[in-house]
């Protein structure tokens, strides 16, 4: 034990001298601990085992500290290769943001030709605003998938209103992209060969003359094309190729092209298998180093304190959530700390089934993050809502995590989240965990079970022996399944308790469940 370790009153001076190069330690000398010169120090070290050992240990300590700093930084999320650059971009960008140009308003709202009569302009603005809201929120809002149709319709309306001619005359502060030589007459979809043209032309300064003469699709129009469910896959991919070319760091208008690309991808849907595959394919180029870095930087900029998440910002969040890269997931978790409402947007984005894996884990991580920053337990129903209407892969992932997860809290959240599934296999997982000897888990599983679709519960009720299992009876009663109604009636609950039974929180549930153990058999 160190308390028994012999001491020497010169140890401090030895360490100061040897480790810190403290050669003229005047005040140590004043206290009688110092050394007149290196020789007396050496002599002391030869004699004093205490100081020798202390010096050895102190050197080891310093080395361990240096190693820790190195390891720590190396182990820091994102601190590998490109990840580090992205991380540091994220730090540096907000610091200089204050002096940078002010962020432009959304593209859509500034393309209105100022020459139009005022009421027309108002209409156009309204249509454009609708398009933004529709395109941004339609496919991934909490509404059902069917809601995406009206939104794509409003995009089409807005496109029709904003004719290329009108846009060419616009004195809008946002210039259209460099003219495409290959697409001079109409705003026809640029072909891959047109992309080559873009590249050549992009490096040359455009003149005002070519700008007014040539009707060129704007970045926004290309974006609309990318997201459009009316365009063919070839047309959509071609439009995306042009946007991608415009996104290259060397392209003169790359920030705007990038923004249009992100907004387009945020608006793209997954109405059928084909559009889902297409959407997934169109996300692929964003995994490329440069674009991934740009996306990370955009996310990082949102981190800056005080910034509100508008449509443009949410588009970045949506695309990042669907991308499923480790670096973007980390950035999203970080963002959600500053902007808790971003979690709703992330959950909504994941409902579009284009992310191959990790969506369930991300939502669970976000839930952990939110919860760990609260002093009191939050309302689990808020988080459970994030999992509603998520693709099956999300639930498969949660079920796979259950056996390996070491944290009870996280397992409980995992189980609660499974309640949002509509898959009989997940119902079976919940049934298994309801028999867990761990109360927190069995209660969470039962509560989650009560949230499954009634059709799955009716199956369970018809297959299983209900008498012995009060948790199952409580769950079925909470779900108000027909078989449970006589039990509820037999309990003769007051209004307040009936409400607790149907809508109580996880904290209420253990007590509610006991009603079905102690009193539940009265109805039989």
């Amino acid at each position: 034990m160190s308390s028994l370790r012999p001491t020497c009153n010169k140890t401090d001076a030895v360490l100061a001298h040897c480790l810190d190069g403290d050669l003229d330690s005047d005040d140590l000398l004043e206290h009688g601990y110092g050394f007149a010169c290196g020789e007396t120090l050496q002599a002391h070290l030869r004699e004093c085992a205490v100081c020798r050992s202390a010096l050895q240990r102190a050197r080891r300590l310093d080395a361990a500290l240096a190693t820790a700093a190195g390891i720590d930084v190396a182990r820091h999320p994102g601190q590998v290769g490109a990840g580090w650059a992205q991380l540091t971009d994220r730090w540096l960008a907000p610091a200089t943001a204050a002096s940078a140009e002010p962020v432009e308003p959304p593209l859509e709202l500034t393309t209105a030709p100022s020459t139009l009569p005022l009421q027309h302009r108002g209409l156009l603005l309204a249509a454009a605003a609708l398009a933004v809201v529709g395109a941004m929120f339609g496919p991934w809002a909490l509404a059902t998938r069917a809601a995406a149709t009206p939104s794509s319709h409003s995009v089409a309306t807005a496109t029709a209103t904003t004719t290329p001619a009108a846009e060419a005359q616009a004195t809008s502060p946002i210039p259209s992209p460099q003219p495409l030589r290959a697409a001079t007459s109409t705003m026809a979809v640029p072909t891959p060969s047109a992309n080559v043209a873009t590249f050549h032309v992009a490096s040359r300064p455009s003149t005002a003359a070519t700008r007014t003469k040539v009707a060129t699709p704007s970045w926004r129009e290309l974006g609309v094309q990318v997201a459009s469910s009316h365009a063919t896959p070839t047309e959509r991919m071609a439009a995306q190729q042009t946007l991608l070319a415009g996104c290259r760091a060397t392209a003169p208008d790359s920030p705007r092209a990038f923004r249009a690309l992100v907004e387009a991808l945020a608006a793209a849907g997954d109405h059928d298998l084909k559009s889902r595959h297409l959407h997934a394919a169109m996300l692929q180029p964003l995994r490329d180093g440069e674009l991934l870095r740009q996306l990370g930087a955009s996310l990082g900029a949102l981190d800056a304190a005080g910034q509100r998440l508008g449509c443009n910002e949410l588009a970045v969040v949506v695309v990042a959530a669907r991308l499923g890269e480790a670096s973007t997931d980390r950035a999203l978790r970080r963002l959600a700390r500053r902007h808790p409402d971003a979690v709703d947007a992330i959950a909504a984005a994941l409902r579009c089934d284009v992310r191959s894996h990790g969506g369930g884990r991300l939502l669970l991580d976000l839930w952990d993050d939110v919860q760990s920053r609260r002093s009191a337990p939050g309302d689990e129903r808020v988080a459970m809502a994030w999992f509603r209407q998520q693709p099956p892969s999300v639930f498969t992932e949660l079920a796979a995590e259950l056996p390996t997860c070491r944290s009870t809290e996280r397992r409980v959240r995992c189980l609660l989240a499974l309640g949002a599934s509509d898959d009989a296999a997940m119902a079976a997982v919940l049934r298994t965990h309801m028999r867990s000897s761990h109360h927190a888990e069995s209660h969470a599983a039962a509560l989650a079970l009560a949230h499954l679709p009634v059709r799955l519960l009716a199956d369970i009720a018809s297959q299983e022996e209900l008498d012995g299992e009060y948790l199952l009876r409580a769950a079925l009663a909470r779900a108000d399944v027909a078989v449970a109604r006589p039990w509820i009636a037999a309990l003769d609950l007051r209004a307040g308790d009936r409400h607790r039974l149907r809508h109580g929180t996880l904290a209420d549930f253990p007590e509610v469940a006991l009603w079905f153990r102690d009193r539940g058999l009265l109805g039989d």
Partner: protein, 194 residues
């Protein structure tokens, strides 16, 4: 007998640092990134000494950069840039309410959620044990002691430079280093034995 592990010293400014600094102070915001980038890893290492939550460590670095950018015009080069940056960071670390938003995450020790950095080789187990204890011991130090020992052991700062960061004299800086080392060594006990 070799008495020195490292030569302590003052951090020095390179030519390119002076170049970017001048441009930055002349109002070129684009020069801020190349100017600051070489110091970010060191800032993160120090921030992680003060915040267990890696997100908060990042927040602390970011807030440091925001303050640095804002105050760069008044930076007169009397100390090295790195010393100045550390000074900002340490001051912010002492006033978390000025930059922290939200509540702290539970420390990793209280929460048995597997974290992201599990890619550790088995042979690191012993080193890991030492590092864990080291983290714990460092956490128990005062902010000044913790900073002083980190700057000495990791950055190789001399007492004067440490004093520059902590806004104290070199003598006081030495006392912080010595006291910190003594306390940590006492806590680590046999873990530092060969």
């Amino acid at each position: 007998m070799d008495l020195r592990v490292t030569e302590p010293g003052q951090p020095k400014s390179s030519d390119s640092e002076r170049h970017w600094l001048q441009r930055c102070q002349a109002g070129d915001a684009a020069a801020f990134q190349p100017l600051l980038r070489p110091h970010l890893a060191a800032l993160l290492a120090l921030a992680k000494r003060h915040c267990r939550d890696p997100h908060w460590a990042e927040d602390l670095v970011q807030e440091t950069l925001v303050r640095a950018f804002r105050n760069l015009p008044s930076f007169r080069g009397e100390s090295a840039l790195r010393t100045w940056l550390f000074r900002i960071l340490v001051r912010l670390a002492s006033e978390p309410e000025r930059w922290r938003r939200g509540k702290p995450a539970e420390s990793l020790g209280d929460l048995d959620v597997p974290d992201h950095f599990e890619l550790r080789a088995e042979h690191d187990a012993i080193a890991r044990e030492l590092q864990d204890r080291l983290d714990e011991a460092m956490e128990r130090l005062t902010l000044r002691q913790r900073t002083a020992l980190h700057l000495r052991a990791v950055e190789g700062f001399d007492y004067e430079a440490i004093g520059g960061v902590l806004a104290c004299t070199a003598v006081a800086a030495r006392m912080h280093v010595l006291e910190a080392r003594r306390k940590v060594m006492a806590r680590l006990k046999e873990h530092l034995e060969p």
